[in-house]
């Protein structure tokens, strides 16, 4: 919804701009060509798009954009071409060209002007060509980028004009690459060869596609050009390999962060308190569902929803944790294996509870715009924002937990109680409340993990089960009772998994990791960071 609103706002701005500039072609001509977009088949629509593009009138831009987004309709009664925006159960419609509001109509009064992928590609090109001379720098830059793969040399004059006028150095550079890529595709041979050489080292994937196309006999008859394209591509790829390694490392750290997020709450409830908490996964699940509920309650604040969800999820899962501790787990201290059974029962109940409340279907959690997409370090290495956010988030969370355990009075009490309950109690610490709060704290952390994981995976009743086994592996591998062990364990497993995946495949990689854990535990029966000496025996 939100995205549509933003789109609409942008649309109106563009419309205003379009109306301010005098129309270079007659309004009737434009209108006819817009009408032609409503052709019977996709081929007809494609022709209509080309015809519209040929007018080179920026006024057509909003129409094409609306068509690309699937918001262009024909009003059945008036045969007018309109832009429709869904409002509740009907559509608010605007005249396609003038942008004049035409009121609200029922869906069945409209016929959608459908597009397919091929048309969408065509539209992107047309919009790109039109946008080259208009809009802001970012729009021009992305318009130029869009031209790289699909455009043919006929666009070169327009591109040259745009390049000549371009003030921004960065945009001009992008246009230069686009120009070389387009030149490489056809025209005079020496110019093509020069253009291909100019593309060496450009890590842009689209450019590599162009080179790849040129290097194949099926696409390119000229052997010399093929050879140069192959050579250039190889050189570019070689420089990309280094980034490939960086990418693998990033994948590994990112997987490690996910494992760490999932395990860190368990490192407290299981590692510190000794509760074999099979309901840990369900605490994560509750956090993820909290995110969903927050997004439902505040549909207008999707961008901030995660920021709101983090504390709320902590409180929700934490509260459930405290209730569980007070009602069940406190009866089971000193019987760790029995906590396994009780918490297993609890996990079944919680799963079925969300099934009853939220239905067994997965819930859709929207990714805020600032977490979508990728940070392009260069064209060969792009770090996706959601992964990047989660890595940073995980480490911030980790530091906060470590600081809390180390410096706060709660942390001090918690450590005191877990190390020597009787002594702590004798010193006036209310051990049962510390227990409840510790368990609640661990559960709350799991809830926060749920908020982050809702951005990566399904939010459904099975969410918790996916992570529970891995979480235990991480905690045990790292060494029970040691948060830094858990961290290092998660990172080791994450990176090892990602390094192995390309040659072993995802499944075999995971099996090898498990076998590795089993063998590792033989060598270090208490994990990576084991307590030594007398303390280990109690």
């Amino acid at each position: 919804m939100n995205f549509i609103r933003t789109f609409l706002a942008g649309l109106l701005v563009v419309l205003a701009a379009a109306m301010a500039t005098p129309a270079p072609v007659s309004a009737g001509e434009l209108e006819d060509r817009v009408k032609a977009l409503d052709a019977k088949n996709f081929a007809g629509k494609g022709k209509a798009i080309e015809a519209l593009e040929a007018l080179a009138d920026p006024a057509a831009l909003p129409v094409l954009r609306a068509m690309q987004e699937g918001l262009l309709f024909r009003e059945k009664a008036t045969k007018r071409i309109v832009i429709g925006v869904k409002a509740a159960r009907s559509f608010e419609i605007f005249d396609a060209l003038s942008g004049e509001a035409l009121g609200v109509v029922k869906k069945r009064k409209l016929k959608k002007i459908s597009v397919n992928n091929r048309l969408r590609g065509r539209l992107r090109l047309a919009i790109g060509a039109l946008a080259l001379t208009s809009g802001d720098a970012a729009a021009r830059s992305s318009a130029a980028k869009a031209l790289v793969k699909d455009a043919d040399p006929t666009i070169l004059p327009a591109l040259d004009r745009a390049l000549a006028r371009e003030q921004e150095v960065e945009v001009a550079a992008v246009m230069g690459v686009a120009r070389a890529a387009i030149q490489a595709k056809g025209g005079e041979k020496s110019a093509r060869l020069a253009a291909i050489s100019a593309l060496e080292g450009v890590l842009d994937r689209e450019v590599m596609v162009v080179l790849g196309t040129l290097s194949q006999a099926a696409n390119e008859p000229d052997a010399e050009i093929r050879a140069l394209a192959t050579e250039t591509l190889a050189a570019t790829e070689a420089s990309g390999r280094y980034y490939g390694m960086l990418e693998t490392l990033f994948f590994g750290v990112s997987l490690g962060s996910v494992l760490l997020l999932a395990a860190i709450g368990l490192a407290i409830t299981f590692g510190v308190m000794g509760v074999i908490n099979m309901a840990h996964g369900e605490m994560i699940m509750l956090g993820a569902y909290t995110t969903y509920v927050i997004q439902q309650v505040f549909p207008g604040a999707i961008e901030y929803s995660l920021a709101i969800a983090v504390p709320v999820a902590f409180l929700v899962s934490g509260a459930v944790g405290v209730v569980l501790e007070r009602s069940v787990i406190r009866f089971l201290y000193g019987r760790p294996l029995e906590t396994l059974l009780a918490t297993f029962g609890i996990s079944l109940v919680l799963q079925q509870a969300v099934r009853s409340i939220f239905s067994p279907l997965n819930r859709s959690v929207i990714t805020p715009d600032w977490m979508s997409g990728a940070l392009e370090v260069n064209a060969a290495l792009s770090l996706t924002y959601n992964r990047l956010t989660i890595i940073i988030f995980t480490f911030v969370l980790l530091l906060m937990i470590a600081a809390l355990l180390r410096y706060s009075s709660f942390g001090l009490r918690m450590r005191a109680v877990t190390q020597n309950r009787a002594m702590a109690s004798a010193m006036g610490i209310r051990t049962n409340w510390v227990d409840a709060l510790t368990f609640g704290f661990g559960s709350g952390i799991a809830g926060i993990a749920g908020v982050a994981l809702s951005q990566l995976t399904n939010v459904g009743p099975n969410l918790g089960q996916q992570y529970i086994v891995d979480s235990f592996m991480v905690v045990v591998f790292g060494g029970v009772g040691n948060i830094w062990g858990t961290t290092l364990g998660a990172m080791t497993l994450g990176i090892a998994n990602k390094v192995m995946e390309p040659w072993s495949g995802a499944v075999l990689g995971k099996i090898l990791i498990l076998v590795f854990i089993i063998l590792f535990i033989q060598k270090r029966p208490s994990g990576m960071f084991a307590l030594k000496g007398r303390a280990a025996e109690n």
Binding site: R335, G345, V480, V507
Partner: protein, 383 residues
């Protein structure tokens, strides 16, 4: 002073075991008779549906027994026992696949359907020999036993114990699950082995075969119970309990605790394998789902619910949980998980010694009628 005098004490209450044995024997004898000899319209008739259902329960009971032997008496909590069960099941399943012979969907004389389908041209080496029943039967015992031996040897020798052992046993079954899911492994992938037709030439869908399998399951359970009782009542049983409660101390007295654990772990795995081998022909399918860590946790839950360290408690737990599951999934499909989950919580909190401890607990409450602390002697030993 005599040995029996001492061993009786080990079982806590011997009448429990006797009543249990009588009940299982009665079930093994009565169910087939009531199914075959009693006309279907009689209220005493046991339908075939119930026979195969009970047969399944008996296999689960045997599996639970195997877990109780190591957990209840030796303190080894295996969260991967489903793996041994599944391997036993795969062994007999492979035999039954080979028995299909040319009657498969594609009519290949030797290869099972799923192999034809995945373009295998010849039988992989690990399928050789499974056309002979004796070989498959041997594998039912050898394969889980060997896996347990190797795994246990690695783990016990380096003194991996407690929660660490539980988690790596879980890792073991998880890894096996992933491996068996892989179609490239040659065990039928996710679908596992199915479409069985007969065993030793007897049609699996014939009532007589079903009854026979049921009786075999009953006999196996009784036999395994006797074996487990023999083990725990011998001096071995005392060593196991000593290891459970104070392993280090047992070592200082001169017992090679790793070897004892290895022994009993392997025996337990073999029993689990046999349970799997009896289970598969009765349900008609074996697939990697049996390796899933959750299944193994479920087994532990049966044992805990029935009451561990008594052998018959494990059996009682397995049968009652599964009977409840059968009942609830039909009666209250939407809420049965609430009931089952709630029951687990209730039993762990309120009945630390499981269902079999219920009587003792009630008796004590009547005697004390106050909330006295349980005597040390009655404290739960394995925690």
């Amino acid at each position: 002073m005599s040995a029996t005098n001492i061993s009786l004490r080990l079982l806590g209450n011997d009448t429990g075991a006797r009543v249990f044995l009588a009940a299982i024997i009665a079930l093994t004898v009565l169910v087939p008779i009531l199914n075959v000899a009693v006309p279907p319209d009689s209220p005493f008739h046991v339908p075939t549906y119930a026979v195969s259902l009970f047969g399944k329960y008996l296999c689960f009971a045997l599996l639970a027994l195997s877990v109780d032997l190591i957990w209840g008496f030796c303190g080894i909590l295996s969260l991967g026992h489903g793996a041994f069960f599944a391997i036993g099941g795969y062994a007999i399943g492979m035999y039954m696949m080979r028995e299909i012979g040319p009657r498969g969907v594609y009519g290949h004389p030797e290869l099972p359907d799923f192999m034809v389908f995945l373009n295998w041209t010849e039988l992989p080496w690990f399928w050789l020999g499974f056309d002979m029943f004796w070989f498959a039967a041997a594998m039912v015992v050898v394969a889980p036993g060997l896996l347990a031996f190797v795994f246990g040897w690695l783990a016990f020798r380096s003194r991996v114990s407690g929660v660490y052992f539980s988690i790596i046993s879980q890792a073991m079954t998880y890894a096996l699950m992933l491996a068996f899911f892989r179609n490239d492994m040659g065990f039928g992938g996710n679908n596992g082995l199915t479409d069985f037709k007969d065993i030793l030439g007897f049609n699996l869908q014939a009532n007589a075969t079903r009854i026979t399998l049921f009786v075999f399951s009953g006999v196996a359970l009784i036999g395994a119970f006797a074996l487990c009782r023999f083990i725990v009542a011998s001096k071995m049983g005392r060593v196991l309990i000593a290891i459970r409660d104070a392993e280090a101390r047992a070592r200082f007295v001169g017992y090679r605790t790793d070897m004892y654990k290895l022994f009993v772990f392997s025996v337990s795995a073999v029993l689990a394998g046999i349970a799997g081998a009896l289970y598969v022909p009765q349900v008609g399918i074996i697939n990697p789902g049996e390796f899933s860590p959750l299944k193994s946790i479920e087994i532990v839950v049966w044992v805990a619910l029935g009451g561990r360290g008594t052998l018959y408690g494990a059996v009682l737990g397995a049968i009652s949980v599964n009977a409840l599951k059968s009942y609830f999934t039909a009666l209250a499909p939407e809420i049965w998980l609430f009931l089952l989950g709630g029951l687990f919580v209730l039993v762990t909190v309120a009945l630390p010694r499981g269902l079999v401890g219920l009587r003792g607990q009630l008796a004590r409450r009547r005697a004390n009628s106050g909330a006295l602390k349980p005597k040390l002697a009655e404290r739960d030993p394995a925690s």
